[in-house]
C-alpha cells in the first residue's frame, strides 16, 4: 500500500509532465519508493505501476535497466565507491579495498549486522573529488582518504547504535 505522504510525493513528480505522459514520472517514483523502503520490491513496482497506469513489466524494465535501483534489500547504508579510471588514478580502488577490510566484507556484500552494503560503482560525476563515494543514492562523500573512511564508518555505527 502506498501511504498518503508517498502519494503526495508521486503527485508532485507527475505534475511536471503532460497529463497523458504520467509514465515520465516512473524514475522519480521508483527513487522515492527506494528512499522510503530501502529497495524496490515487486510490490513496490506494482504500486508505482498502478499509480501511473503502467504495465508492471514496463516498470520492472526501468528498475532493472538503471544501476541505482536496489532490486533486493541492502544494508542501512549503501556505500557506492567509484573506481572508474579518473578515480582509480586517485586511490578509488584503494578506498574500496580499505572499506572491504574495515567492514570485513567483499564488494557486493552486506555486513552481518545489516548496517553496510559495499558496492563498486561507475562514474559518479565527481571525478575531481576522488576518492568519492555515494551513500544511499543521495549523499556524495568527497576526498575519502582511509582516515575519513574510518571516521565515516565509525560515526555511522555510533549513530545507529541502539
Amino acid at each position: 500500500m502506498i501511504s498518503e505522504a508517498t502519494r503526495a510525493r508521486f503527485a508532485r513528480e507527475v505534475a511536471k509532465y503532460p497529463a497523458d505522459q504520467k509514465q515520465s514520472a516512473v524514475m522519480a517514483c521508483l527513487a522515492i519508493v527506494q528512499q522510503e523502503q530501502g529497495h524496490v520490491s515487486p510490490e513496490g513496482e506494482k504500486g508505482v505501476a498502478d499509480y501511473l497506469g503502467m504495465a508492471p513489466i514496463a516498470v520492472h524494465e526501468v528498475t532493472t535497466f538503471y544501476n541505482m535501483y536496489n532490486q533486493r534489500p541492502v544494508g542501512r547504508f549503501k556505500l557506492n565507491v567509484c573506481t572508474n579510471l579518473p578515480c582509480q588514478l586517485r586511490d578509488g580502488a584503494g578506498a574500496l579495498q580499505h572499506l572491504e577490510r574495515k567492514l570485513g566484507i567483499g564488494m557486493g556484500e552486506t555486513t552481518a549486522d545489516g548496517l553496510f552494503t559495499l558496492q563498486q560503482s561507475e562514474c559518479l560525476g565527481a571525478c575531481a573529488d576522488s576518492p568519492v563515494m555515494l551513500v544511499n543514492d543521495r549523499t556524495m562523500c568527497s576526498f575519502m582518504s582511509p582516515e575519513k573512511l574510518d571516521q565515516l564508518v565509525d560515526a555511522l555505527r555510533a549513530a545507529e547504535a541502539p
Partner: protein, 452 residues
Amino acid sequence: MMTADQVLAQFRATGVETCFHDRHINPQIYAGLNGSNWRLKDYVARGGYEALRRILLGADGAEPMTQDQVIATVKESGLRGRGGAGFPTGLKWSFMPRQFPGQKYLVCNSDEGEPGTCKDRDILQFNPHIVIEGMAIAAFAMGISVGYNYIHGEIFSAYERFEEAIDEARAAGLLGDGILGSKFSFQLHAAHGFGAYICGEETALLESLEGKKGQPRFKPPFPASFGLYGKPTTINNTETFAAVPWIIRNGGAAYLACGKPNNGGTKIYSVSGDVERPGNYEVPLGTPFPKLLELAGGVRGGRKLKAVIPGGSSAPILPASIMMECTMDYDSIAKSGSMLGSGAVIVLDDSRCMVKSLQRLSYFYMHESCGQCTPCREGTGWLSRMVDRIENGQGRPSDMDLLNSVADNIQGRTICALGDAAAMPVRAMIKHFRPEFEYHVEHKTCMVPAYV
C-alpha cells in the same frame, strides 16, 4: 550524538577545491561564486536575468529582441555544444521548426556521466540560475513553452538544488506564464536519472524522460523533428545554456573574441588524475595545455607527464609530447587526433601502466552498453575480456591486432556513439603505446612498477 544525516553531511564537498580556487582565467560561468551565493538575489546582484530582461523588455533605450536576433547573436558568438560533440549552438537552434503549431520541448542534458567530467555539477550546485536563464532565452528564441533539465542521478543534491532554484525563479515571475509581464511563457521542470551512462546520449535521455529504458533511438529523425513525446525538441548541455546569458549581455562578437576563431568563449575543463589540484578550471578556449596543467598544480609529485585523455574517457589518449603542443579548443585537439569532448582532462603520469588503465575503461563500456546493438553488446565484452587477459599475463601476441579488429567492427556500426566511445580508447592506446601491450604479453607484467 549525531544522526546519520549529520554524519554524512560532514563529508560533502564544499567546492573550495574544485571551483572556488580562484585559478580560472576570465571566467564567465564560475565568476564570483563562493558556494553560498547561489540564490536568486545573489545571481541578480551578479547581473543575472539582465539578458532575459533585455530580450523580453528591451534595455538602455533598445527595443526588445526578436527570436531571429537572439539566434543570430548566438551564431555570431561561435558557441559550440559543450557536452561533447561541439556542434554550433546557433545553428542547432535554427533547425528548430519555430512555426510548428504543436507542443515543442527544450531539454537540458545534465546527465554528466562521462568519466572525468564534473563541471556541470558545480554549475548546477553553485550557479543554478545561470542555467535557468540560458534555458529561458533558448526557449524564447525557438518559441518553446516547456523545458526539462535531466540531471545525473548520482549528483542528487544538484537535482534538489536546481528544483529549489526553479521555485525561486517561478515565484519571481522569471519562469511560468507571462514572464516579466511579457507574452512569453516558459514552464521548466527538473528530472533525474538513476545510474545509466547511456542516458547522456540525447535520444537515450529522451527515452528515459519518457519513463522507459534509456536505449538510444535511430537517427534520423533527429530530435528537432521527432524528440520528446515525438515532438520537435532541442537538447543542449548545461554548460552550453550557461554560456548564453553572457553572450546576450555582451554580444556575439565579444564572446567569440574571448576564445579563438571558430572556438568562441570560455570552456570549463575538469582536470582529474595525476595532478596536484584536481578540479574545474574555466579558461578561454585556445588556452595552451601547459597553462591548464599549471593551473591544476602540475603533475602530481613532480613526476613526468606520460599521457592525457583530453575530452573524457571516450576521447583517444594522446602522449605527452603531442599534448604539450596542443591548445585547449575543439580544432587543436581534433587536429592532434583526439577530441575535446566534454572537456574532461584525465592526466596520467609516467608511473601508469596503459594496459591497466585501458582495462578499467573497457570494463566500464561493457558495463554501460545498453545491449541494443550486437556489435556494441558483444564487442565491448570481447574488448574487456581481451584487455583483462593481457593485463593478467595471459595475452597472446596476436591480441593487439585482434583488439584493433574488434574495435574496427564496433566503430560506426551501432545506433549511438557508445560503440565508438568504447572503440576509440582501445585503438588510440594501441596506436600510441603498443610496445607496452607487447611487453605485457611477452613478460606477463607491466613495463612500469605496479600501480594502485
